[in-house]
């Protein structure tokens, strides 16, 4: 904590921030220099030296600061289990006397430098013969000579340079996906081959103006074509038929049904013509349809993958955790947490990953996971699951499994907390059911019409109709729009529980603000102490106690006392009373800190926060008071005036006393309703009251005290300062530094509906135009086969680009 504080201080005075040449982190007060480069720690320096020695400094040229921070103390005992023969057998793919093949998953690789380094391992470790990276799967395939290097040595090397492999002793699933992709490519290859050769052999048919009437030539070609078309019908288009058949069995006509019908019609008709000799058939068209459809789908899947909005390893998750590195404590975002790191969890903080208890008394509340409110005591060495919350003094844990953001998000969306207001809605528009029926109706009408008008046009018209119609926007636009919007929000540090929160956010017309911690900042607050002078020991006691709590006032007081080199304070019976204060027995001194009523006679008073005054009581002697000056977040005034202009109803509910009224009126204007001395229950009632008047309420608060009100409001946003306080009652988590962008967020959410509507109209237009050409027989079935996947790709692209464009316009 102190090192971090010091580095901030140094940076401010020198105003030069030195970044590490290897990993790009800002170097603290400890700067290691070698060869005119600066490094943040000896770990980064050692990796640099290793690369330099082996002429691999190209690593630094390919990408800026590509390195991954080494873990400091390198504990080589960690990989001792890799010496065990049975374990080795589970992990490797092949082994002989001279060669061992193994594939490792390295999720940390993120750039071309990583590929460069991982493929040049043989230059660092001669035992490694060859290594090949598959960047998309984030895997590296290594061949090494077991006589010169062992599996353990290879893994230790990887960990040393910062690319620790993710070793799981369970079966990998990646093999299945690559086999699936191969099958698709086989089908496309065969279809392409047959299609192009059929076209070539159809030339006589195209050019038959009398030149080629050598008997038998045309017929022979027809039979060649017939033969070539069989693999297309039975192999390449098999998936389409299977999918249509599956849908049919469930009495449901899916998108593949009309396409399957079109293919069958074309091929059957052509075979009939060839066999009876009445014509040449349409197999060039038919195989073309299959080929283009398959290519279209393959391309579609690639596009979807690149626009995919899974919140992955690197995306922002507003959870911070205190980690112990090199003996110093540091607060880092949870995404940077790695296995076997030591973390410190304070009172009311959530444990972000499965971990083992190392130090301290653990009292874990699993209500977030299981709904059980009773806290469970855990002893040293016991496993504590992610999602549990610590009640009591700080504990130290060793992380044994990586943080799974999807798991935490899943818990968040858990039934226990949903009060049905923001359920995940299915994005399949109700109209899609009728789409296929309508399409078949049009097809039948076309057949009937042409049968009586010009029978020759029946076939091209009907097949074109069946193929060109695309219900894509019904299925895709909402999903991709909201998915992209979630990503944009996430980039701007507003993390939504799920996509339906966007729709709720768009409907908001009233905003309720909490004061402390939401519109005030806890970091840069000015703290004054008034009272009896405190000895260093007493200050250390206050610091230790306030450190246990994540309340903004506790943090501020803790930061204001410099860390002393004194021995550790023995802390017992720590308890935090939400909204009132803290109490503990430290070094046999009974200490109470908090609001005046709490400290003096412990009568529960409805004062929400401890006000701006924190009183300190030691062994029943009133030592003094910490006065905390509120500092309001930047940009607040402008945002409030924007919101006011747009007609939002604005309210402030504070548990504090009304000393701040003047400052608040200054920011919010005279018309805003500002209420003080609000208890959590009063805040909840206030929101209910607003909702009764048909207001759609957005509440911004901190997760702890405002949980009830947050859950009650239509959208509840918990403001976080990168702490490990996770509030499941909220629908969204917003980083404190971005609170002043609230008006932009709401405006962006409102535009979401516009985007979906626009793509919907676009798709309907496409269908109308396409079908109008198709029914007239003017659209060749092959062209229709190209248009259909093209239209779904274009809808996805349109929706994603448009929403990104609007995001940029709104300043997000």
């Amino acid at each position: 904590m102190a090192a971090f504080f010091k580095s901030v201080f140094i940076n401010k005075t020198n105003s030069i921030s030195v970044t590490c040449f290897h990993c790009g982190d800002i170097c603290g007060d400890l700067i290691v220099s070698v060869d005119e480069h600066n490094f943040c720690c000896s770990g980064c320096k050692q990796v640099y030296l290793l690369l330099n020695e082996n002429n691999l400094c190209n690593y630094y040229d390919l990408d800026k600061n590509p390195g991954l921070k080494a873990k400091g103390k390198f504990v080589s005992e960690r990989y001792a289990y890799l010496d065990d023969e049975a374990t080795i057998q589970k992990l490797i793919q092949f082994s002989s006397d001279e060669q061992v093949n193994v594939t490792f998953s390295i999720p940390q690789m993120h750039c071309s430098s990583c590929i460069y380094l991982l493929e040049n391992l043989h230059r660092i470790e001669p035992g490694v013969k060859q290594s090949q990276v598959n960047f998309q799967q984030k895997e590296v395939f290594i061949i090494f000579n077991p006589k010169e290097a062992s599996l353990r040595k290879v893994v230790e090397l990887l960990a040393f340079i910062g690319y620790e492999p993710y070793i799981s002793l369970k079966d990998t699933v990646t093999k299945k996906t690559s086999l699936f992709n191969r099958k698709q490519i086989y089908k496309i290859g065969v279809a392409g081959f047959c299609f192009s050769n059929i076209m070539m052999l159809s030339f006589p048919e195209y050019l038959s103006s009398g030149f080629i009437d050598e008997a038998g030539l045309k017929e022979t070609f027809s039979w060649f074509i017939f033969g070539l078309s069989l693999p297309v019908l039975f192999f390449s288009s098999a998936d389409i038929f299977v999918s249509a058949w599956k849908g049919l069995r469930q009495r449901f006509l899916n998108i593949d049904a009309p396409i399957a019908l079109a293919i069958i019609v074309t091929f059957v008709r052509s075979y009939y013509e060839i066999i009876t000799g009445t014509g040449a058939g349409y197999l060039d068209s038919g195989s073309g349809i299959v080929f283009f459809m398959l290519i279209g789908r393959w391309f579609q899947n690639k596009t979807y993958d690149s626009f995919s909005f899974d919140r992955d390893y690197l995306s922002y998750f507003p959870l911070g955790v205190t980690v112990v590195r090199n003996g110093a404590e540091k607060n880092i975002p949870v995404t940077k947490l790695e296995k076997s790191e030591r973390i410190i969890i304070h009172n009311e903080e959530m444990i972000p990953a499965d971990a083992v208890l190392m130090k301290g008394l653990a009292n874990i509340d699993y209500s977030f996971v299981s709904g059980e409110n009773a806290a469970v005591e855990k002893k040293k060495g016991e496993l504590i699951y992610a999602g549990g919350k610590q009640i009591g003094s700080a504990i130290e844990l060793e992380v044994i499994k990586e943080v799974s953001q999807s798991y935490i998000t899943q818990l968040w969306n858990n039934d226990i907390f949903s009060n049905k207001k923001n359920e995940e809605k299915s994005f399949i528009h109700p109209w899609s059911k009728y789409f296929t029926y309508a399409l078949f109706a049009i097809a039948i009408a076309t057949v009937v019409f042409w049968y009586f008008t010009d029978a020759a046009k029946i076939f091209p018209a009907v097949t074109a109709v069946l193929i060109v119609a695309c219900p894509c926007s019904l299925l895709l636009s909402a999903t991709f729009t909201y998915g992209n919007m979630l990503r944009v929000f996430g980039r701007n540090k507003l993390y939504l529980k799920n996509a339906s929160v966007i729709e709720s956010l768009a409907k908001i017309n009233t905003i309720v603000f909490d004061k402390t911690g939401t519109i005030t900042q806890s970091h840069a607050a000015a703290v004054d102490y008034e009272g009896l002078p405190l000895s260093d020991h007493e200050k250390a006691i206050i610091r230790t106690i306030s450190k246990q709590s994540s309340h903004p006032l506790s943090k501020v007081i803790c930061n204001s006392i410099p860390e002393s080199p004194e021995k550790l304070i023995n802390l017992k019976e720590f308890q935090e009373f939400a909204g009132k204060g803290l109490q503990a027995v430290a070094d046999n001194t009974y200490v109470k800190m908090g609001s005046s009523s709490f400290v003096k006679n412990n009568i529960p008073v409805f004062t929400q926060d401890t006000g701006t005054a924190v009183h300190v009581l030691m062994d029943n002697v009133h030592m003094g008071t910490y006065r905390v000056k509120n500092q309001y977040r930047m940009g607040l005034k402008e945002m409030i005036s924007n919101l006011d202009r747009k007609g939002f109803g604005l309210y402030v509910l504070s548990g504090d006393n009304n000393l701040e009224k003047e400052n608040l009126v200054n920011i919010f204007g005279i018309n805003t309703n500002i209420n003080f001395h609000q208890s959590p229950q009063q805040k909840l009632d206030y929101v209910k009251h607003l909702q009764k008047n048909n207001r759609q309420v957005l509440m911004l608060g901190d997760g702890l005290n405002d949980a009830g009100a947050l859950m009650q409001s239509n959208v509840g946003i918990a403001v976080s300062e990168n702490s490990a306080q996770f509030s499941p009652a909220s629908d969204a988590i917003l980083d404190g530094s971005k609170v002043s962008m609230l008006d932009k967020f709401i405006s962006f959410a409102r535009s979401g509906k516009t985007i979906v509507m626009a793509s919907f109209i676009l798709s309907i237009l496409y269908n109308i135009v396409g079908l109008s050409f198709a029914v007239q027989g003017l659209l060749s079935p092959m062209v229709a086969a190209i248009l259909m996947p093209a239209s779904s790709i274009s809808i996805v692209l349109f929706v994603s680009l448009y929403s990104s464009f609007i995001a940029r316009k709104k300043g997000l």
Binding site: S112, I115, Q132, N181, R182, G189, V190, E214, L217
Partner: protein
């Protein structure tokens, strides 16, 4: 015109060979990763001259001692 039969037959044979080669290469996994090769081709060859020059420097210092 009967040459056509032979020509067409032969061309389909050749095309078929290419198809077989394609299917074979897919089976061998050459198309599994279509992204990394594009990065890999941009890497430079390791500089062999630097290695030899450091070696010669080393020998010089050794003789000096």
């Amino acid at each position: 015109m009967s040459a056509f039969f032979i020509l067409i037959g032969f061309s389909i044979l050749v095309a078929g060979t290419f198809l077989a080669a394609f299917l074979f290469s897919v089976k061998k996994g050459q198309f599994d990763d279509d992204y990394t090769p594009s990065i890999r081709m941009l890497f430079d060859e390791p500089e062999k001259t630097k290695a030899t020059s450091t070696k010669s420097v080393k020998t010089i210092t050794q003789t000096k001692k």
